[in-house]
């Protein structure tokens, strides 16, 4: 049979429907997820292991029975299976979009042509075949038959969510709750069932509490609505679909206090490293031409500008901020570092020998910052290497507070 691609958004039931269909028809199948095995070699191992169906043993590192180092070996294995005249095997590959630009996919789609093995291949993907994502050489892979799982429309979504109703609770109230709060407020920003389920789990008891406690009768929806509206809006503002969801929602419900992030740095670094990182941060944000104005006292500080010019400058600065950090040469970072140090008045001016003496240590610090992924080398050879700084604004702000540098004075972007 020709390969089949099943595609559709997350949690639209692709895997579940496929699995239940097989279960219903009473056919066995093998399942391999490309998230677990996203490199060609482990993927092949997994496929062979699944198809051959031997038990994995600790002795051979759970590597399964057949060893497939290369695609060629996989094909040999499969050819061997093809000659055995068994019942047709079915293989489900989940998350195929992960391996979309590997040769493995092209070969798998043509297995029949290459090995003569009549295998039922089902691919599950979030991305449709016709999109640009499979562009690498789409025609190299013959197009599979396609089955689309469309996303849910709002009424369908609410119908599914209605199944989350806790046992014994008022059915009508629950559907009103879904229709007024979950539908328009939360489902518009995330249609993931899991997220919405979590929201319902937390909000529904709050909504129903007045009824349970007997303060408001179940028939008075208006009153219920007004009693709950503020809480829902607060929850919505903090609704971030994802893992943090749990914490923020319960915070919104109980205290509704703003989550005051602490100013303290939650990791420790040597003092020099922190200043170095700040220097890197400044270099990656500011344009090189700005350095002179910032650090050279002899340059004319603050030329007079017209309002138009300063407006334009502010606009350019905002734009540069959005565009993000850029790479900078090492020398520039070191120069900025010494400027920062001397501004802190811990360094007597003009101690060039001392700087030379310390430079060895500094390079050690820099290499350890690189290995900690705070800095990364982006381009260039050893002689003119360019570095990029990968700390976020918040971390930089905390760090600046920690070493008592006022970032506002230095980071001007343009």
């Amino acid at each position: 049979m020709p390969p089949v691609l099943v595609y559709g958004g997350p949690s639209t039931g692709k895997t579940a429907v496929l699995r239940d269909t097989f279960a219903h028809m009473g056919i066995g199948y093998s399942y391999v997820s490309c998230i677990e095995f996203d490199k060609p070699r482990p993927l092949l191992q997994a496929i062979i292991g699944q198809l051959k169906g031997k038990k994995r043993k600790a002795a051979d590192g759970y590597a399964g029975e057949g060893k497939a180092e290369q695609l060629a070996d996989l094909l040999v294995h499969l050819q061997g299976m093809a000659s055995k005249k068994e019942a047709r095997r079915y293989l489900i590959l989940d998350h195929v979009e992960r391996i979309r630009d590997a040769d493995v996919l092209a070969v798998l789609l043509r297995l029949r042509e290459y090995t003569g093995l009549d295998m039922g291949l089902f691919l599950i993907s979030q991305i449709p075949w016709g999109s640009n994502a499979y562009e690498f050489d789409t025609l190299r892979c013959p197009r599979p038959l396609q089955i689309c799982f469309p996303g849910y429309r709002m009424p369908e979504l609410l119908q599914i969510l209605a199944k989350c109703r806790p046992e014994g609770d008022n059915e009508r109230l629950f559907s009103i709750f879904l229709g007024t709060f979950i539908g328009p407020m939360f489902a518009r920003c995330s249609s993931r069932i899991e997220d919405l389920q979590r929201v319902i789990e937390q909000l529904w008891p709050e909504y129903i509490r007045p009824v349970r406690e007997g303060r408001i009768e179940a028939s008075k929806q208006q009153q219920l609505y007004f009693a709950f509206k503020d809480k829902a809006i607060a929850a919505k503002e903090l609704f971030e679909s994802g893992l943090q969801n749990h914490a923020s929602l319960s915070a919104a419900l109980s205290a509704r206090a703003a989550l005051g992030a602490s100013d303290a740095l939650d990791f420790e670094l040597p003092f020099t490293s922190k200043v170095l990182l700040l220097a890197a941060y400044i270099c990656s944000r500011n344009k090189p031409a700005l350095d002179r104005r910032l650090f050279d006292p002899s340059s004319r500080a603050g030329r007079r500008r017209g309002t138009m010019a300063s407006d334009r400058q502010a606009e350019a600065a905002a734009e540069a901020k959005l565009r993000g950090p850029h790479a900078f040469p090492l020398e520039r970072m070191l120069a900025t570092f010494w400027e920062l140090r001397s501004a802190q008045d811990e360094e007597p001016a003009g101690a060039a020998e001392q700087r030379d003496a310390q430079s060895g240590d500094l390079f050690m610090e820099i290499s350890s910052l690189v290995s900690m992924r705070f800095l990364s080398q982006v381009t260039g050879s050893l002689s003119d290497a360019k570095y990029a700084c990968s700390i976020s604004d918040e971390v930089a702000e905390k760090m600046a507070k920690n070493v008592k540098v006022s970032l506002k004075e230095y980071v001007l972007y343009v």
Partner: protein
């Protein structure tokens, strides 16, 4: 229904037995067959042959048929075959170590020699030369079929090709190399020493031409008919009724129009047509008796719909995702080559002034951004862009066209009118449209 089963098994077979080749393929096949027969019969007539053609035009089918014929003609004694077929594929065997081991393995299997898995590259190469000489003494021939030939011609040192073609030069060897490729410039990428050993026999298989649309033998309709109709001698009692039904349904003007449309979109290569035929038979199901126009129409629609799938995916996104996507398109329109999350967020934040119902926090927008990347509606601008540095500033591009998005918005059940006009116009007047959006909430 027997006719349906026959057709189905025929269409899923790789060599499509019983389906006549279109004239161009038939001519190339005859030529290749003559060439191979010559190699088998006359010692020293080693040859190499290159077949070029776009994907899905039937190159492999043609070679498969020619080889099948060759095997049937000469391999009369099953215990000791006269012709050995070695099949290699550029996607799999382009590396020399793998290629020569595979050659050795296949030759060992055909001519019943014991194969050593542990043999090194040099051993395998020596074995190849030896066995070719030995086979020549027994008047036996080896045909090497190299599919995806361009992959063999890609490495800097084309050892596989060189060694194979060099072996063919010797008079004490009887072998042929048949290369198949989809790249028209594959000859240019060959090394000089390889090219000089390649005899310049080649054929180009052309795609179906637009002016041949209603050609009685090689037009798409004719191909579909040859896929779907029963040949003589099979299922005689139903054959006539079945063939008439197929003929009638292919004459249907709606089918004709839909096919023409598909053809104009470039979605009607012979392989696509084969897929349409498969689809049609699937739609017929096991209960139906005769193939009707509606089955073929459904099949054509299925192929066509697969091409529109991006719109479906857009239409099933959440509102916030759509806002971010539209923001990306707006920025592209303003001249940004690539955008990042901070830019998208700033663009989205501008809609706050329009007083609509879909204002969400930055983390929520970040998740939406991530989901768009997962759905491949946004794509990282470079290979490195997604890996290094801060994710907020990783540069991405919108991987969809504006028309697709606006069609997706039209199909989306809940899309606020504000969003549509935000996509359509650079400046949106806050007024009636915003009120409507509020009313929807």
């Amino acid at each position: 229904m027997q006719a349906c089963t026959i057709i189905r098994s025929r269409l899923t077979d790789l060599l499509c037995p019983g389906v006549a080749l279109r004239p161009q393929l038939e001519a190339a096949r005859a030529k290749l067959s003559a060439l191979l027969c010559n190699t088998v019969e006359k010692p020293g007539a080693n040859s190499s042959y290159l077949l070029i053609g776009a994907r899905g035009t039937g190159k492999s089918l043609l070679v498969g048929r020619a080889v099948q014929e060759l095997v049937q003609k000469y391999n009369t004694n099953a215990a000791s075959p006269t012709v050995g077929i070695v099949q290699l594929n550029g996607l799999i065997h382009s590396e020399e170590r793998v290629a020569f081991r595979e050659i050795a393995r296949q030759l060992c299997a055909i001519f019943q020699v014991s194969f050593s898995r542990a043999a090194a590259f040099a051993d395998n190469l020596e074995f190849l030369l030896d066995i070719l000489k030995t086979l020549h003494k027994g008047h036996k021939t080896v045909v090497f079929i190299l599919d995806e030939f361009d992959m063999f011609a890609k490495p800097f040192k084309q050892t596989v090709l060189y060694n194979l073609l060099d072996a063919l030069q010797a008079s004490s060897v009887q072998a042929a190399v048949v290369a198949i490729s989809a790249r028209h410039n594959v000859m240019d990428s060959m090394e000089k020493r390889v090219r000089s050993r390649f005899s310049h026999r080649r054929d180009i298989i052309l795609e179906l031409a637009i002016e041949d649309f209603d050609h009685p033998e090689s037009g798409p309709v004719a191909l579909l008919r040859s896929f779907l109709s029963l040949p003589e001698g099979q299922c005689t009692q139903h054959r006539k009724a079945w063939n008439t039904a197929v003929q009638a349904s292919l004459q249907d003007s709606d089918v004709w129009k839909a096919l023409r449309l598909l053809f104009d979109k470039g979605l009607a290569s012979p392989r696509d047509l084969l897929q349409i035929a498969q689809h049609a038979v699937i739609h017929l199901g096991s209960g139906g008796t005769l193939l009707l126009a509606q089955h073929i129409q459904a099949a054509i629609a299925a192929i066509d719909q697969a091409q529109n799938s991006v719109v479906d995916i857009i239409a099933s996104q959440g509102i916030l995702e759509l806002f971010i996507l539209v923001a990306a398109l707006r920025l592209h329109r303003k001249g940004y080559q690539a955008v990042n999350f901070e830019l998208l967020w700033a663009e989205y934040a501008k809609t706050r002034g329009m007083q609509h119902a879909d204002i969400y926090s930055k983390p929520a927008a970040a998740r939406a951004f991530q989901r768009l990347l997962d759905a491949a509606l946004l794509a990282f601008a470079g290979a490195r862009a997604g890996r290094a540095g801060l994710w907020e500033f990783a540069s991405v591009v919108a991987a969809v066209a504006e028309e697709e998005v606006s069609e997706g918005l039209q199909r989306h059940g809940l899309c606020p009118p504000l969003l549509k006009s935000w996509l359509a116009k650079d400046i949106v007047q806050v007024g009636s449209s915003a009120d409507e959006a509020m009313g929807g909430c």
